[in-house]
Amino acid sequence: MHPRSVDFEIHMHVSIHHYLVLAAVLFCLGLLGVIIQRNILIMLMCIEVLMNSINLTFIALARYYNQVDGHLVAIFVMAIAAVEAAIGLGIVISLFRNRQSIDINDFNSMRG
C-alpha cells in the first residue's frame, strides 16, 4: 500500500482533539463577535455561540469518558442560555424603547 494513503487514514481519524479544537475556535469566534459587533442583538447571539462551544466541549468529553454527566451540564447550560436570552432581550426592548437604538455604543450613559 502506498505510504501516503496510510498517512491519510490517520488524518481522517477523528479524535477528541478535533472536537476540542472546534470548540475552542467557536469560543474565540463568539468572543470576537461580541467585541467587534455594535449590534446588541448579534452580540447576544454571539454569547449563545459561546455557550454552545462550552456545550460541545462537555459533550465531547462526556463521550470520551463514557459518562453522561456532561450531557446534564449541557442541559443546564441550555436552561441558563434560555434565561439569559429572555432577560437580555427584555433589556434590549426596554433600551430600544428609551433610546431608539440597538447600537451598543449608544448605551454609554454611565461613562466616567
Partner: protein, 166 residues
C-alpha cells in the same frame, strides 16, 4: 463515514458563525446561527448524544432563536438603525487577542497525543440514562435551574412591561 460528517458539520458551523459575526442585519445573523445550531446538533449526534441533539434544536433553534427573531421583528428596525462604524483599532485588537487565545488553546490541546474515542457503553446518552442521573445526582441543580427559569421569566416580564407613568 464519521470523518466526512464531522468535517462537513464543523465547516458549516464555523462558516456560519463567521458569517454571523460579520453581519449587520440581525435577521441574517439569526438565520446563520440557526444553521450553525443545526450542524452542531449533527455533531452531537456523531457524539451519540441524541437527546442533546434534539434538545439543541428544540431549545436553541425552536425557542431561543424564535424569541430573538420575534424581538427583532418587534423592534421593527429601519435601515438607518443598522449603522456600521469603523473602529479599526478595537477590531484589530480583538482579532489579535482572540487569535492569540485560539492559537494558544490549539497549541495546548495538540501537546496531548491524539486519542480516539473508546467504545460507548450501552445506553449512553439515552433519555433514561440522562433522566436517572438528573433526578438522583443532579436533583438539586435541577431544582435550582427550575427556580432560575422562574426568576428569568419574572424578570423578563418586568423588563418588557411598559412603564405606567408615561
Amino acid at each position: 463515514m464519521n470523518p466526512y460528517f464531522f468535517y462537513a458539520f464543523a465547516t458549516i458551523t464555523v462558516l456560519m458563525v463567521v458569517l454571523m459575526i460579520l453581519q449587520k442585519n440581525p435577521i441574517t445573523g439569526a438565520m446563520c446561527l440557526i444553521v450553525s445550531f443545526f450542524s452542531l446538533a449533527g455533531l452531537y449526534v456523531l457524539l451519540e448524544a441524541h437527546f442533546i441533539a434534539v434538545l439543541q434544536i428544540l431549545v436553541y433553534a425552536g425557542a431561543i432563536m424564535v424569541l430573538f427573531i420575534f424581538v427583532i421583528m418587534f423592534l421593527n428596525l429601519k435601515k438607518e438603525d443598522l449603522k456600521t462604524g469603523r473602529r479599526p483599532f478595537y477590531q484589530f485588537a480583538a482579532l489579535i487577542a482572540s487569535g492569540a487565545l485560539v492559537t494558544f488553546l490549539v497549541v495546548q490541546y495538540t501537546k496531548i497525543p491524539p486519542v480516539s474515542f473508546p467504545e460507548s457503553v450501552a445506553g449512553f446518552g439515552t433519555v433514561e440514562a440522562i433522566g436517572s442521573l438528573m433526578f438522583s445526582k443532579y436533583v438539586i441543580a435541577f431544582e435550582v435551574i427550575g427556580l432560575l427559569l422562574l426568576v428569568g421569566i419574572i424578570g423578563a416580564v418586568l423588563l418588557g412591561k411598559k412603564e405606567n407613568h408615561d
